[in-house]
Symmetry: C2
Subunit: 300 residues, 2 copies
Amino acid sequence: MFKKVCIIGCGLIGSSLARAIKKNNLAQQVVSSNRSKDINKKVIELKIVDDSSSDTKKMAEGSDLIIIATPLSSYEDIILKIKDTLKNNQTILTDVGSVKRNILRLVEKNIPEKVSWIPSHPIAGTEESGPESGFSELFRDRWCILTPSKKANEKDINLLKTFWQKVGSKVDIMEAEQHDYILAITSHIPHLIAYNIVNTSLNAQDEKKTDIVKYSAGGLRDFTRIAASNPVMWRDIFIENKDNTSKLISKFIENLEDLKKAIEDGNGKKLEKIFVKTKKIRKDIVEAGQDIEQPNFGRK
Amino acid sequence: MFKKVCIIGCGLIGSSLARAIKKNNLAQQVVSSNRSKDINKKVIELKIVDDSSSDTKKMAEGSDLIIIATPLSSYEDIILKIKDTLKNNQTILTDVGSVKRNILRLVEKNIPEKVSWIPSHPIAGTEESGPESGFSELFRDRWCILTPSKKANEKDINLLKTFWQKVGSKVDIMEAEQHDYILAITSHIPHLIAYNIVNTSLNAQDEKKTDIVKYSAGGLRDFTRIAASNPVMWRDIFIENKDNTSKLISKFIENLEDLKKAIEDGNGKKLEKIFVKTKKIRKDIVEAGQDIEQPNFGRK
């Protein structure tokens, strides 16, 4: 499918992609670039990629598919490093970032006219980080959203769509603005709330010297999984999706104040009505097959 | 261990207990009482109990262990129905409710002097409800907290402790006030927040006609599990634990406003610091063996 794929950032997502590309024979060569020498060494040793180096330009050279899989705040640096290697009508450039609007424009203005810049967002992941935590089946049955730039041509969009399908994903195409709004609801706000509840619990624990870990199976446990996600990655996501995040937090707080008042007033009817409504969505998620973590077929 | 155990309310917890009692031969006879005729019929058919009827008094008669496993708002009714069947020095009365302070007193003032009233709270459950959803291993490796009343004697406390250990639990004994505070942190607030985030997402979905189920694997999914818990049960829990819940919501909102400001200011350092802190607790939970749902050994 591709001659040379270059993955910039071989973390959970990057290394899972490298594994999936090799497993499904989607490229003749897969290379990666990481800032850390240790990681470059490790991904070669583990045979996740054929070559890896901190010299991003060198790794990107001659690639027909380049995938940026690093935190959003590093994109500008990366683009400046690789832009001279991007060839008109020869390179597809994509990423796997969780926010699209700003980076779509940032990259667009820095690359040649006829390089197909097609941001991707695979809605997949675990709370773990680093190349050891990746596995080839991470994307299976998960959605991947493409938000093509004006510079993307139809043929390349279809090729990239097929690429994601070959690693197991279902593909949707939409505007970056719409993507950022939907993901703020389904992913960014849930993560922020998870971080906040765990943080609030830790503060309460310090204050009263109680043991919240011991009794976490009562509910808190469910939040700690996503509150264990990569801190740098999420720091960047919230800041990049500031507008949507900020508006939705306000709505969340408004609704929570409402619940608080219902509790204080002993308004059981109101509480029950809301809880019945929220109960229904679980059934929809189970029916849509989005309820469970990926079985780790390829995981070690 | 017991001659006759009466379980009032054969839902997820009640029916799991009935199954565990039978499996571990902890009683000669297990009966239950449910308001619904269909459920009384079903639990006999499924051989979860030996007898079942909506006549609570009749079922409780002659029991040496009575377990209330219904929503908190039904306790007063139940106690009035069964109080004449409780025999001094012969009956242990317990429950499985999630809030203790108020019901401890409510029951205490309505029962004979020498009936051992020892509230229990098994920190176990799933998002499902009803007798079909129960399974005998639900309590295995989970904590169960006892908050004995003044009317409980030492011998009976030890007997009930052994009972919970025999169904697989680890047992802690504490004051009702302490219980209600810890559980507000580890269970009640997490549930309320889960309900609130799912509700907020549903509202946003209605507004923009987007499909939040489709992309729920990005994080929202993790909240829908506990936001699918029994609405009546949780309505009662929040209202019964009003003081703790209300105070902790305020702290939660305070912290969330703080995060919101950090996002709006682009204060990445502050965000990262909090996220690194919350990441650590996951490791503690995994190490404490409280990270996964019970494998459903006995589940159909």
